[in-house]
Amino acid sequence: MRSTLSRLAVVLSLVLVAVVLRVTDANPAIAQTQTIGAWRVSSEPVLDGSAPEWQSIVPIFVPTTAQQVTPPMGGGTVERVAVRAVHWEGRLYVMLEWADHTPDYVTDRYEAFSDAAAIEFPAEAGSAVPFVCMGQADQAVNIWQWRSDQQQDAPTLPADGYVDLYPSTDDLYFPARAAGNPLSQGDRTPVQNLVAGGFGTLTATDNGELLGHGLHSDGRWMVVYTRPFEPSGELQPTFGGEQPIDVAFAVWDGSKGERDGIKSVSAFTQMTITSEGPPRRSVAASDDWPAYTPPNPLVGVTVGFFAVLLIMAAGVWVYLRRGPKETNDEEQ
């Protein structure tokens, strides 16, 4: 009886503490996932990702994999995305870089698809992150999607290309524009501001001051996004706080047939806005992307680390092997 009561007391105590933590939304655990530093810089960053001021920042590589959740599934041709982030005077700048030897600017055929990249944030900070694919009913996400075919300064036509010209400009001849399709509006931007709360709920919203620009060079895309810390509307995160922000990435390679759900996606990782300056590396003239030379002799450090762990483990094991003798000695 006493034993049963003590068990009940233990379980009730645990439940009580858990209820208090849940109600106050106080998570005793902390995330240990990859953290991307959003570093403070002293001058306005440019939207050209190939500029030395961007390239000299040490990137964080985020692994990506094929999207296998909902049809159309597939992709995964891009294995990793390099991420850099900075902030300047209340604006966040994020640069994504990934290897792609075939830039796809034009979607002039049914089977031609654009290269693209997206950044996803939870709409609101919380103790639990939403589902990485379009969020979920009770936890929406905000997505910034950049598309190469929507970029005005990109070479949209080959040299020998031509366009049809409609003589009429009224809505009758432009039904997509009339219907409000954001991709058909005259003031189109390469970056769309989207919100979603589950599959089938993706909706374009006011871009506000969300900007972006992509550049293809040396077999890789470099896309810079920027937005003020304060959002322009609902279901968009506010930046600048001390708490880390959850963030995920997706990339499409058009020439590999990637579009819609066929893409490379990452899991959620975290971004921390810090007042420190970015860690820099020397930018080599011929970066051997994607295995560029890290700033430190990391191979040696990596081998050394595992060697230390191994020696430590072996030492503990050898020490403990003396256990039976000690035990037996004590038992004599």
Binding site: V11, V19, L21, P28, I30, Q34, F306, W317, G323
Partner: protein, 331 residues
Amino acid sequence: MTKSSERWLPAGLPGLLGVLALGELVLLRTGTRTLVHIPGLGRYETPIRILAEVGRFAYYLAVVSLVAVLAILAYQGIRTRTPRHVTGGVGALVFLAVAGAGRLEILAVPVVGWASVVLLVVVTATVWRGLRTLPIGFFVLGWAAAGWTVLGQGTMGGLSGRQVDTLMLTAEISLLLSAVTAPLLLKGPPPRLAILVGLGFALVGAAAFVSGSSTLTILILWNLGVPGWLPGVGYAIALGSLMTTLWSALATDQRLTAIGLMLLTAGGIGTISTYQTGLVLTAVLLFGYAIPGPGRDLTGTIAESKRADSLVVMTRPTRTPGLPKTPSPVG
């Protein structure tokens, strides 16, 4: 003369933790992410919200239980006075202190991460019993490799893309090897029924991977911490082996082994959160009790309970044949 000593381990609490962690994994980390496939999401919004809330509460309860279990394991380990369990107990205490300091922002997150890696490796060394503990060794190797991709990039000035790939692949291979070799954790060969159950799970897993109609890859990335680059068949075999081991452990009263497997599954690979790291550390500590070394049962062994629903398990020291009857150093 043998002085019968009694030591106490609330083994029911690790069991409760195992159930809660799996519940949280199934409801929160998996259920709410797969239920969204239901056509007409709006119609099912309320049940999904309820399930998500239940999962979230299971998470909070699991975190609280985890702290209690680690504290008890620390107390129990230190009390045994055997080097391996004392080391494990101190490791649990240090982890609680470090994770708490990280939560209170006394320690930086990378410091907590590095400390987690070191603690897990040291504690794994204390439970090492050769071939029988090979699956734990594989798991922790994979865990350290995946953790290194996070910690190496965050504090060491960067890793190259190929280094990241190599480490993630190492983590993935280690994870699969850990699952495939999991039956080594058992005291004997798995029963025939357990093998059939494992085969069934492997076939279902293989079919799901081959058909490509599942959420498995993204769930592997999300829940286990590896990118799912290896062929799905490998994961199917690993799933079958894991289920065979789990079924065998439950069917043959190897309760701590079963709980350890549940906690490893819920914990995943790599430094994801202090909660998941704590689950893995707890699992390794429990394996240390479940798999005694030869000739060391006089002081270090905690017999696995046959009372599966017991909150408190009374344990008695067992005597190795051939050794003299002597009072236990922990009376």
